[in-house]
């Protein structure tokens, strides 16, 4: 979709969403896996109750972090490329919207696949994991909605206003 003002926000939205996915993955990995140690990558299948299980989970956590790093690095590369294109707007609102959208996508997709379908881990392994898995999914949906709102509001109001100001000059 090319905006009415002739700008192309696709590269900016996709780059920022990928960055948001990567950064959201790092928040999950650093906060939940390492600092709070609420779960690990395979903690529902290999409970970290022995040194060997802790070590095995650590390897899979590392693979997850490596892939998250690849997502972040690719997002940075895409952002760099997007900023070099003349028709891509340098819009902070769209960029922030894409970041929040990406983070929400991470929580939603990871929550559906890893927590609900595969059941390899849950947000909180001990206790009511259904509740916390639901909260995690809901946070993903909320962030997707907020990100989409930021992106849409940029295209419908401020963007056109900014273009009108450009046209006046």
């Amino acid at each position: 979709m090319k905006d009415l003002n002739g700008t192309n926000r696709g590269p900016l939205i996709s780059a920022s969403a990928l960055l948001g996915i990567g950064l959201g993955g790092f928040v999950d990995g650093i906060l939940f896996h390492q600092i709070l140690q609420l779960h690990n990558m395979l903690s529902a299948k290999l409970p970290p109750t022995s040194l060997v299980n802790v070590e095995v989970n650590m390897v899979w956590d590392g693979l997850f972090h490596a892939l998250t790093w690849v997502m972040t690095a690719t997002g940075l590369g895409m952002l760099w490329h997007a900023m070099g294109q003349r028709d891509v707007p340098h819009s902070t609102r769209t960029f922030l919207g894409g970041l929040v959208l990406g983070w929400g996508l991470f929580n939603f997709v990871e929550g559906i696949i890893d927590h609900a379908i595969l059941g390899i881990h849950h947000v909180v392994e001990n206790g009511n994991h259904v509740l916390w898995d639901g909260v995690f999914l809901a946070s993903g949906v909320a962030m997707i909605a907020i990100g989409a709102f930021f992106i849409r509001s940029d295209s419908t109001q401020e963007f056109r206003a900014g273009e009108a100001a450009t046209a006046r000059r």
Partner: protein, 127 residues
């Protein structure tokens, strides 16, 4: 760790009386280096075997970790860990395609100049 007064290592000896300050500082530095080296050596050799449990360690626990890691469920675990990432990539690709420009690409300058003709009377007055 304590030594009898006559049995101390030479580096622990106090400097001779009347020695220059520079000599004393050098001696102190040597003493602290010796103590640090000793502490590191003690730490390294005192590590229990169980701690060397990394997946590439040549220890009993390391072998157990390797066996658990590359066991019969390795491919299932690998696929489980990898599975969200192609979906992320597909969604991002979808976003890029969804917001891709459609139709003839009009240069921005040209479009801007055309749009300037569509200004409201209020905007025209202000310009």
């Amino acid at each position: 760790m304590s030594f009898a007064p006559g049995n101390r290592p030479s580096c622990w000896d106090s400097p001779p009386r009347g020695a220059p300050l520079r000599f004393m500082r050098k001696k102190r530095r040597r003493t602290s280096i010796a103590r640090a080296s000793l502490a590191i050596a003690l730490f390294v050799f005192a590590i229990p075997a169980a701690v060397t449990a990394c997946p590439i360690c040549h220890s009993e626990t390391g072998e157990q970790v390797r066996a658990a890691l590359f066991g019969p469920n390795f491919s299932v675990h690998l696929l489980s860990v990898l599975s969200p990432f192609p979906i992320f990539a597909a969604i991002v690709l979808g976003l890029r395609v969804a917001f891709a420009p459609r139709g003839p690409d009009i240069p921005r300058g040209v479009e801007s100049s055309n749009r300037s003709l569509d200004l409201s009377p209020q905007e025209k007055r202000s310009s």
